[in-house]
């Protein structure tokens, strides 16, 4: 549809759009035409237009108001006040649930049958409607609902887990707000729980609590009797935490939403930083990152969040992945040389977005908690006395002016600091136990990219079931508090930076908002119920940049498959029967061949009769295809019973039996790679700024042609079912480049280069069939180059790896009797 037409339609449909369209026109035409008019006309027209405009606006308003008023009729069920919820009076003798059962486990206390009919391995969660519970005397048992609990229930209700059908739910969340035990009456709240319609001794009920216990003994789990209900609690100790049943959650820090804290990259305390003014410190990482990203200013806008920089991050990663292998004469050459200095791509990357925000931190260790027991405070004072300026211990401010919230200021000897900003000035931040084990300060510390030093014996860290806290924090036993400085100093620099990034990532993913906390909790429970569909350790713990940079080879186990298994040769043919029969005869001489599969790609012609086929010693099977597609060569046929597959064209008759057998032997040593005969290279054309396909005699190889190549059968499965984007269809439509696609696929998934076998010989190049004359040949090269560019854009990276070696038999061309060599007949043509 023409663009103009579309615009017109959009204008018609949206009342607001009309105003906009009209006013735009007005603006565009207005200035140009008005000056040329006489004054009185001008006034006249301006008045006219204003009237029309006003009319339009008025109409628009008119259109809109009734709309929202009418629709609010539909929403009237929803748009209510919290104060108007139904009131439930609890009789004094209504049942109280039993106390929590400490021996509960998923297989004893959880009714998994209720999750039996949830599709897609996803639990369904029901939320009870909000009610206001009052005791017999009419005194409310608790405040109806807190802002955070409302947010939490909203998050659940907006998620995929939510169901409003109580009969199909697997997990029930009461709307009774238990987040803070201090704001509720324990016994009456328990009674309120017990009268929920599906309570059934609390089975499959999930309760959220962040501040458990109360004075004087501060229990580490919610004191409300709850029978078998699961508890998502902040501040569990190992004594109250039911491993694999309860979920340990963070104590949400209200500052997360209140304060805007721009991200600061990892940095460390150094003695220098206290002496130099901060602006004068130039970091090597700045030059590094600018080198990695040529033409890009290393300065990044302040205050950008990690996720908004992701596109940059991804591009850099892609580029870096393409330069894994030693690359010569290719784009990013400089960059890849620079990358030599960089131990890992993601480190460079982090350095990039940290760029100029990365400044040394002024303090090595910081304590920012105000409510500490005098004993702990004495210990801290001793630490500070011993280590001087490197340690900063903050406390409440005594002389705050009016209007400054106490939560946002910390003081040290009359010197005031902004909180939580001051946390960004330290490498390590203390998280000590208060009366409760769970402390909201943990969230602030993580957010500041400061490594938490957790000194709270028996504390069960938030989401410890899935999060690897070793990567983001240091846990020190309380009795070792005096040694904490030396313990922290023994941690290598690089590991500290890793931990700082990890801390920030944990905050972003799991602490940032009530929604993040709620969804992580449900995901953990979901993973317990459907363990085979669970999220992996890497998904939970690896920051996005690491996930992007890493490759997990699907064939990672070092294994050399037994020779006895042999390989299956797959010959793709259309109608060149004579040539096909020659190939079959030649290939059948290879000792390790165990089966031969002919893929008959011609639908108009039947394959020759059985009696006409060459008689060979291994089974020969003909597969007829439904459509003449190049992809048919890479289909994972059930007939393939070996791991090794030899793809061979029906005109490759120049390979000797020794060469093929040797190729198979090489594949056995590299079963996760493409092992092929003719090698090709991709090059970066600086003039066109595009990739170029190269088939000349080069010193490097990045692809092998699948006109004759060994590979693992699994790649057939990947090619057929997991090929990214539209590459598969594109190949079939163009009838070309299926081999390049296969090279991309294998290199991308394994991160490894191809292996070219044996010397170059006069190959009747398979891609040149039916092409004669130079000009056609050139067209062909152009097409192949296009393929490379197309695939690189679909993969979002250049996965191909360039190498300078090929595989030959150990004694190839050595001065050694030919008859004693295993593969004498190699390269002779």
């Amino acid at each position: 549809m023409p663009r103009a037409g579309l615009d017109a339609q959009e204008c018609e449909e949206e009342a607001a759009g009309v105003i906009m369209c009209a006013s735009v026109k007005y603006n565009i035409r207005g200035p140009a035409l008005i000056p040329r008019m006489k004054t009185k006309h001008r006034i006249y027209y301006i008045t006219l237009f204003s009237i029309v405009l006003l009319g339009l606006i008025a109409t628009g308003m008119f259109q809109f108001w009734p709309h929202s008023i009418e629709s609010s009729g539909d929403w009237s069920v929803e748009k209510r006040s919290v104060r108007d919820v139904p009131v439930v009076r609890l009789p004094a003798d209504s049942p109280v649930p039993e106390r929590g059962d400490l021996s509960c486990r998923m297989h004893t206390c959880f009714d998994v049958y209720r999750c039996g009919f949830n599709p897609k391995n996803k639990i369904k969660v029901y939320i009870y409607p909000l009610k206001k519970y009052v005791g017999e005397a009419g005194v409310p048992v608790s405040s109806t609902i807190s802002r955070e609990y409302n947010e939490l229930l909203t998050a659940i209700s907006d998620s995929d887990y939510y169901t409003d059908d109580i009969t199909r739910a697997c997990l029930f969340v009461p709307s009774i707000d238990l987040l803070n035990q201090n704001s509720l009456r324990v016994r009456e709240t328990a009674q309120a729980l017990a009268q929920l319609s599906r309570w059934d001794r609390g089975t499959n009920h999930l309760l959220f609590n962040m501040l458990p216990g109360g004075p004087p003994d501060y229990n580490t789990a919610l004191d409300v009797p709850r029978d078998r209900a699961l508890l998502a609690g902040g501040g569990f100790s190992t004594w109250t935490y039911r491993q694999g049943y309860d979920v340990s959650i963070p104590v949400y820090s209200p500052l997360s939403a209140e304060v805007d804290l721009p991200e600061k990259g990892p940095g460390q305390f150094s003695a220098l930083s206290t002496k130099l003014p901060r602006s004068e410190i130039q970091l090597p990482s700045v030059s590094l990152s600018s080198a990695l990203l040529p033409g890009r200013n290393s300065r990044l806008p302040e205050g950008k969040q990690a996720f908004s920089i992701n596109p940059v991050v991804q591009t850099v990663l892609r580029r870096n992945r393409s330069s894994h292998a030693p690359v010569k004469g290719q784009p990013f050459k400089e960059e890849s040389r620079q990358a030599h200095c960089v131990k890992s791509v993601h480190q460079a990357l982090w350095a990039l977005w940290a760029a100029d925000r990365q400044r040394p931190r002024r303090y090595f260790l910081l304590s920012s908690q105000v409510a500490l027991h005098p004993e702990s405070r004495e210990d801290l004072a001793a630490l500070q006395a011993r280590h001087g300026e490197a340690v900063l211990v903050l406390d409440k401010c005594s002389n705050l002016s009016e209007g400054v919230p106490a939560a946002r200021k910390r003081c040290h000897q009359q010197q005031a600091f902004d909180y939580p900003q001051v946390l960004q000035e330290a490498t390590f931040c203390m998280v000590l136990r208060g009366a409760r084990l769970g402390q909201a300060v943990l969230s602030d510390v993580l957010r500041a990219g400061c490594v938490p030093v957790i000194i709270a014996d028996s504390y069960v860290l938030p989401f410890s079931e899935v999060l690897d806290w070793k990567r983001a924090s240091v846990v020190v036993p309380e009795e070792k508090m005096s040694d904490v400085y030396s313990i922290l100093q023994s941690i290598p620099r690089r590991q500290i930076e890793e931990m700082q990034r990890q801390a920030r990532w944990f905050w972003e993913a799991y602490f940032q908002s009530i929604k993040a906390i709620a969804l992580a909790t449900l995901q953990i429970i979901n993973d317990r119920i459907y363990p085979y569909a669970a999220i992996s350790y890497e998904d939970w713990n690896d920051p996005p940049a690491v996930k992007w940079g890493s490759v997990s080879n699907p064939l990672f186990l070092p294994l050399i498959p037994p020779q006895s298994q042999g390989f299956t040769a797959i010959v793709l043919t259309y109608d060149r029967v004579e040539s096909l029969f020659r190939v079959i005869t030649e290939v059948s001489k290879v000792p390790s061949l165990s089966k031969l599969l002919v893929v008959w790609n011609n639908q108009n012609k039947n394959p020759p009769e059985d009696s006409l086929w060459p008689k060979i010693r291994v089974p020969l099977k003909v597969v007829r295809t439904a459509e003449n597609k190049l992809s048919n060569r890479f289909f994972p046929y059930d007939e393939i019973e070996t791991e090794a597959v030899l793809a061979i064209d029906d005109d490759i008759i120049m390979l000797t039996s020794d060469e093929l057998q040797f190729g198979y032997e090489v594949w056995r040593e590299f079963p996760d790679r493409l092992v092929g005969y003719p090698g090709r290279l991709h090059l970066w054309d600086h003039e066109t700024s595009k990739w170029k396909y190269e088939s000349e005699w080069t010193n490097e190889v990045s692809m092998v042609l699948t006109g004759a190549a060994f590979y693992h059968k699994y790649f057939n499965y990947l090619y057929t079912y997991k090929m990214p984007g539209d590459i598969k269809n594109w190949v079939d439509a163009h009838m070309n480049c299926e081999d390049i696609a296969m090279n991309f696929l294998v290199a991308n998934v394994t991160g490894k280069a191809v292996i070219k076998v044996t010397p170059r010989k006069k190959f009747k190049c398979p891609e040149c069939t039916a092409i004669d004359g130079l000009s056609l040949d050139q067209t062909h090269m152009v097409e192949r180059s296009e393929c490379i560019n197309k695939f690189a854009s679909v993969f979002g990276t250049m996965p191909l790896k360039v190498v300078e070696h090929r595989a030959d038999p150990v004694l190839y061309k050595d001065d050694f009797p030919e008859k004693l060599k295993s593969f004498p007949n190699i390269g002779s043509l």
Partner: protein, 676 residues
């Protein structure tokens, strides 16, 4: 002017038309949201007064909360922090003392004792130790349990180890001791304090171990999908097509074609269903060994080493109450995940379970990790090949420092190498060699390890790269010490007598960068099984395959120096010192045991061999390609020390792409590889 008027009139007219049009529209528009509303779930209401809601905690409250005294942890059971005194392990180093056996003991406890004594953490003095291990024997009757050992001290810093259910464990006053028990029940297991061991069969080998059965990455077509563990031991395979749950008596109607395998034969199937009773723990290990993915149905026991091993990568733990879901999940599991689970199961078997020694060393490593806190093995090192026992956390805790994890980390090894030249006996400074190496493109430094009795020359030739002289002590294993002077990931190990050209070095280093976990060498040996003598032999004769490269000219990762020095048993290193050619064999054994892959050979000009000095006196036989007959014994002693033959043969050599091709020599990058 007229036209303007006309145009504006037109505009006004069209505007009024639009207004009329819009009058008609609302009727159409308003229905839409209403329709949407009806179908959607009700959801949690959006309160009108959301803004007015109070926060769950008032800032003041959070600030005040700590004024109560910090309370001591309550509860009767032990945790790591409360019951283990890590300060006794000075410098973060674990020292383990094991109580000697009292009276005659059976095979299994003896193996346990031997394994602990062979560990690098072992100490013979109980006073020095920070972990004291008490091994319980299964055959001691309940009445004759050991008296409490003298250093018992309420069980503090003690580990009570019981590989088979021992009656003594039940009646023992454990106090503050940790328990390492085979297949402990989840109810009594104290996470982070106790250690869950696997239940091992009686005849589990001491070291080396029963190799994994997995021979290929993907399951063979036609192999049964599921094998079910039988209560009497053994396995029963079930067909792929079943409508009922094959393990449950209640729905035992249609098993499809089934087959029962007796005794201890390993299952041949993709998944191994293990009901999860305690008696099934043996089945679990069998499945791992067979590379059959264990599917545990609500196991009542803690999975072995669950503290460090991520079992979700190797096994499926499912709820037995949802049988149909489990079956459907197994049948529909994508091939990619099946492959990953299979390989991981096999890797875990090989890394931690295949021998008694590995099980015991893993136990001690877990405790060492707890002591070292922040510098413990990251999870990646435990859960990907070659495993935490072979990736020493004393070397580094950053995975990208090791040669094994570059792919997972998206990193690559440093692009330069250090040449380490060993000068033995009465040798002259290898000036020619230094020049050849210093000319290499990526050489970062040259280290000369001067092991000759003569003092080193005061002056060395001017080279483009820094040259450092290190003092050796004349021992053959000296050359594999982790010298702090080595600043690069790659080491080019050379002998003073080696002859090598610059372009050979350049090419070999390019190859090494593609295979940083392997050794890349020029001269090779191969091992063979000598039928006549019933032992292993090795030869330097040129052959069609090889399994070792000589360290007199080879690239490898600097991590192998650390591994060689700190993880190999002292006896093996002494053996190498006594018979110098053995050092080469030992290094090759070590790398092959870690990688399970052959080394890589690159081309080496035949003219070097001709230019080689005449065979030397027997004093330094390691310089020759041909090993001494006397040294043949070394390979057998090493094989015994490793428990198996780790060497793997290769039949290929990596050459430059245009090596000896009929093309102009000017096109070739490494042309001097073909002619000197």
């Amino acid at each position: 002017m007229q036209s303007w008027r006309r145009k504006s009139l037109l505009l006004a007219l069209s505007a009024s038309w639009l207004l009329i049009l819009l009058r008609v529209f609302p009727a159409l528009r308003l229905k839409e949201p209403a329709r949407r509303q009806a179908g959607a779930p009700q959801g949690w209401p959006r309160w009108l007064d959301t803004e007015l809601l109070q926060s769950f905690s008032q800032p003041a409250e959070l600030l005040e909360d700590g004024l109560q005294p910090p309370q001591a942890p309550r509860g009767s059971s032990c945790t790591w922090g409360a019951c283990f005194d890590a300060s006794r392990c000075r410098g973060g180093g674990l020292k383990v003392f094991v109580y000697p056996a009292v009276g005659p003991i059976s095979e299994t406890p003896r193996k346990v004792l031997t394994s602990i004594e062979g560990s690098r953490y072992h100490t013979a003095s109980a006073a020095e130790a920070c972990l004291l291990v008490l091994v319980l024997s299964p055959d001691t009757p309940a009445g004759e349990c050991h008296p409490v050992p003298p250093q018992w001290d309420g069980g503090k810093n003690h580990l009570v180890l019981s590989l088979h259910p021992a009656p003594c464990l039940r009646i023992f006053q454990l106090g503050q001791a940790m328990v390492a028990e085979a297949s402990p029940t989840v109810d009594t297991f104290r996470p982070g304090f106790d250690v869950a061991l696997p239940l091992l069969p009686e005849a589990h080998p001491l070291r080396g171990g029963a190799l994994g059965q997995l021979r290929q990455h993907s399951p063979l077509p036609g192999v049964a999908l599921i094998a079910v563990a039988e209560e009497r031991g053994g396995w029963r395979t079930a067909g792929t097509n079943f409508s009922a749950c094959p393990w449950d008596g209640r729905c035992e109607q249609d098993h499809g074609p089934k087959q029962t395998h007796p005794g201890t034969t390993l299952p041949n199937a993709t998944f191994c269903l293990i009901p999860g009773r305690s008696a099934d723990a043996l089945h679990f290990l069998q499945a791992l060994q067979a590379g059959c993915i264990p599917v545990l149905l609500s196991p009542r026991w803690e999975l072995p080493f669950s503290e460090v091993i991520d079992w979700t990568k190797a096994a499926v733990v499912a709820d037995e109450r949802l049988p149909l879901q489990v079956l459907a999940a197994l049948q529909e599991m994508p091939l990619t995940r099946v492959l990953a689970l299979r390989q991981q199961a096999q890797f875990l078997w090989d890394a931690y379970f295949s021998s008694m020694e590995k099980v015991i060393h893993t136990t001690l490593e877990i405790i060492q990790d707890r002591i070292s806190g922040a510098s413990a093995h990251p999870s990646l090192l435990w859960n990907s090949p070659p495993g935490a026992l072979l990736a020493l956390s004393t070397f580094s805790t950053s995975p990208s420092d090791f040669p094994f994890y570059h792919l997972q980390q998206g990193s690559r090894p440093l692009g330069t190498f250090s040449a380490l030249i060993w000068v033995g006996a009465p040798d002259q400074p290898p000036l020619k060699l230094i020049q050849a190496v210093a000319g290499a493109q990526h050489c970062a430094q040259i280290l000369v390890l001067w092991s000759s009795k003569k003092p080193p020359p005061p002056r060395w030739p001017e080279t483009a790269v820094p040259l450092t002289v290190l003092d050796g002590h004349g021992k053959a294993s000296d050359r594999f010490l982790p010298y702090s002077a080595i600043s690069t990931d790659a080491i080019l190990s050379l002998d003073a007598h080696s002859s090598i050209s610059t372009s050979e070095v350049d090419f070999a280093f390019m190859v090494w960068q593609s295979f940083p976990e392997r050794m890349v060498g020029f001269l090779t040996w191969s091992h063979f099984w000598n039928e006549a003598q019933g032992g292993w032999g090795y030869t330097g004769e040129r052959a069609n395959e090889f399994s070792m490269v000589l360290t007199s000219a080879a690239f490898y990762h600097r991590y192998y120096h650390t591994l060689f020095t700190h993880s190999l048993p002292k006896a093996l290193r002494t053996l190498a010192d006594e018979s110098p050619p053995c050092v080469d064999v030992l290094m090759n054994f070590l790398v092959a045991a870690v990688t399970k892959l052959p080394p890589i050979k690159v081309p080496y000009g035949p003219w070097h061999q001709e230019a080689r000095p005449p065979p030397l006196a027997p004093g330094s036989p390691r310089l020759r390609a041909e090993p001494q007959p006397a040294a043949q014994d070394c390979i057998n002693r090493l094989a015994a020390g490793f428990g198996h033959m780790p060497l793997v043969s290769s039949r290929l050599r990596l050459d430059p792409v245009l090596f000896k091709d009929p093309v102009s020599v000017l096109r070739k990058k490494y042309r001097s590889l073909e002619k000197p």
